[in-house]
Amino acid sequence: MVITDELVTYLEALGRIKLPEESRAKAQSDLQEILQYIDTLSELDTEGIEPMSHALPLTNVMREDEVQPSVPTEEVLANAPVKKDGYFLVPRSFE
């Protein structure tokens, strides 16, 4: 797998980040190196192995449908950098 400049740009877009111009080339080669190493995993024979997302075989942990008090709006918004009239505020996001 080759990490191209386009792929770096795509990954930046997916992650909503932008690398500083001066560290792009280094980041690209680092990613390439890491991926090359990660690609060794393809040697591992996993034929017929069920992918395991949870190490412990737990099932059915659920909560009863009982209402607990919500928190005060001031608390919801306590850490908001910008707020207005009980709302979070973001740049216009309608088309």
Binding site: S23, A27, L31, I38, T40, L44, P51, N79, A80
Partner: protein, 489 residues
């Protein structure tokens, strides 16, 4: 009095407080003085709480009234900066959360508070727990108390260094791929990552949800057992949390390794393992043998696939977990932006450091359409194989022994420019998180430069008592854990 205090373990101090030989307030004052004295040098703490003495007073009263009965009541401790504490800055070593004050408290912190803990403050860490050196913190580098030119390890570098430096008597760390064990090894202290699910992750700021686990770092195994006993509680708020049989401290303190079968994966002793580290582990194996354990090597070829699988799974989960940091609800928000997309991109680009960005990009890549099966799915299959390999080994062995890290603490800056090299240093630790097993790092020697070496004691699911019992027995006949860092007066 103070000369004695600094040599006490958490349980010894707790006993002294209970007996009235010293008050919780005096203990807190002592720790604050230690922080005053050393933290400028080691930079373990990001935040020192303002209410330490008030809390100590309250706990002292609680001990008198019988509210606090834990052997740890009144003992000053520290908390890694990724565990939420209501009203106290919780920044995960990141600019992104430099001003974040949660309105809720992590379950593990609640539990330790119920045991009468006196928290001193928040401990430095790699940004969002991503790193093995504590150098990626936005708040600066924590220094190793054994040599200030060296890193303390990471990501719980502050948690390990603070215990080593005597700034607190124990600390809470978190371990996603070795973040408790590796810094414990580098700083010559004892730390344990318990079985996945045994400590609630509620309130622990997530790095990789399926791997993250909270655990203690302390001066010895007995202290770790005492802390773990307090925080291993099933919690309804964490659906992955499980009921454990708890921690029987007396059982730990009276464990005999005689008759225990200990396996050493031969594959742990391959290329890249420092010869001093290898020698210290071999010596520890001999020691355990001399105490009556049988020790033998066995093959575990899956070891080489642990790092690729780990970095795929951890980065993928991280890329998703860290998407919530967008400058809208909390944390850093860029000053100038043109529109919504620009707000997201600028806030995240300015708020996250390079290592975090790298893992977000890697995570986005392995999950992106067309690559999921080749990477993420494959990594989950590797995870299944790693778990199976351990399950098989534990049919035969009580414990598995090996190195925690291939080297001792590296010089500051040595690995920062070479991420892959840093990742490779996690070779022995990450597979434990993939399998969800408990494992401890226990001091077992020093290298030629005088830096501590930790041995890795790995147990089967919920065998924390066995791990810490063996470690305690080992610490009864060795004094590696009692040695004091050379950078202290």
């Amino acid at each position: 009095m103070k000369m004695e205090l600094k040599d006490l373990t958490a349980l010894e101090l707790g006993a002294a407080i209970r007996k009235g030989e010293i008050s919780a307030v005096e203990a807190a004052q002592f720790s604050l003085a230690q922080i005053e004295k050393y933290d400028g040098k080691f930079s373990c703490f990001v935040t020192v709480q303002e209410d330490v003495l008030r809390r100590a007073e309250e706990v002292q009263k609680g001990i008198a009234s019988g509210e606090y009965t834990s052997p740890l009541a009144g003992v000053p401790m520290g908390i890694k900066d990724n565990m939420c504490q209501k009203g106290i800055q919780t920044s995960c070593g990141s600019h992104m959360l430099y001003n974040f004050k949660p309105t809720y408290t992590a379950a593990a912190v609640e539990e330790i508070m119920k045991a009468g803990a006196v928290p001193l403050g928040k401990l430095n860490m790699d940004e969002f727990a991503m790193g093995s050196t504590s150098e990626t913190s936005w708040f600066g580098v924590t220094k190793n108390p054994w040599n200030v030119e060296c890193v303390p390890g990471g990501s719980s570098g502050g948690s390990a260094a603070a215990v080593a430096a005597g700034e607190c008597f124990y600390s809470l760390g978190s371990d996603t791929g070795g973040s408790i064990r590796q810094p414990a090894s580098f700083c010559g202290v004892t730390g344990i990552k318990p079985t996945y699910g045994s400590v609630s992750r509620f309130g622990l700021v997530a790095y990789a949800s399926s791997l993250d686990q909270i655990g203690p770092i302390a001066r010895n195994a007995a202290d770790c057992a005492a802390v773990l006993g307090e925080i291993m509680k099933q919690d309804k708020r964490d659906n992955t949390s499980v009921a454990t049989k708890g921690m029987d401290l007396q059982k730990v303190l009276h464990t005999d390794v005689k008759g225990m079968k200990i396996g050493i994966p031969a594959d742990f002793f391959g290329e890249g393992l420092d010869k001093d580290v290898a020698a210290a582990i071999e010596a520890a194996a001999k020691q355990l043998e001399s105490m009556g354990a049988t020790v033998e090597k066995f093959d575990m070829p899956i070891v080489k696939y642990a790092i690729p699988a780990y970095y795929i799974i951890a980065s993928a989960e991280a890329s998703s977990n860290l998407s919530r940091y967008d400058g809208i609800k909390y944390g850093y928000r860029a000053d100038d932006f043109e529109d919504l997309l620009d707000l997201y991109t600028k806030s995240r680009s300015e708020g996250f450091g390079m290592e975090v960005k790298r893992r977000i990009m890697l995570g986005c890549f392995v999950l992106s359409s067309g690559y999921y099966d080749a990477y993420y799915r494959k990594a989950l299959q590797a995870k299944a194989l790693i778990k199976a390999a351990f399950d098989k080994a534990f049919e035969k062995y009580d414990l598995i022994l090996g190195p925690v890290a291939p080297t001792t603490a590296l010089k500051i800056g040595e690995n920062l420019a070479d991420p892959l090299k840093m990742y490779l240093g996690d070779i022995y630790t990450v597979m434990i998180n993939l399998a969800g097993l408990p494992a401890a790092s226990v001091p077992c020697g020093f290298d030629a430069k005088g830096m501590p070496v930790g041995m890795h004691l790995i147990g089967h699911y919920f065998d924390e008592e066995k791990i810490l019992g063996a470690a305690h027995a080992y610490q009864q006949v060795t004094d590696w854990h009692r040695r004091k860092p050379t950078e202290l007066d």
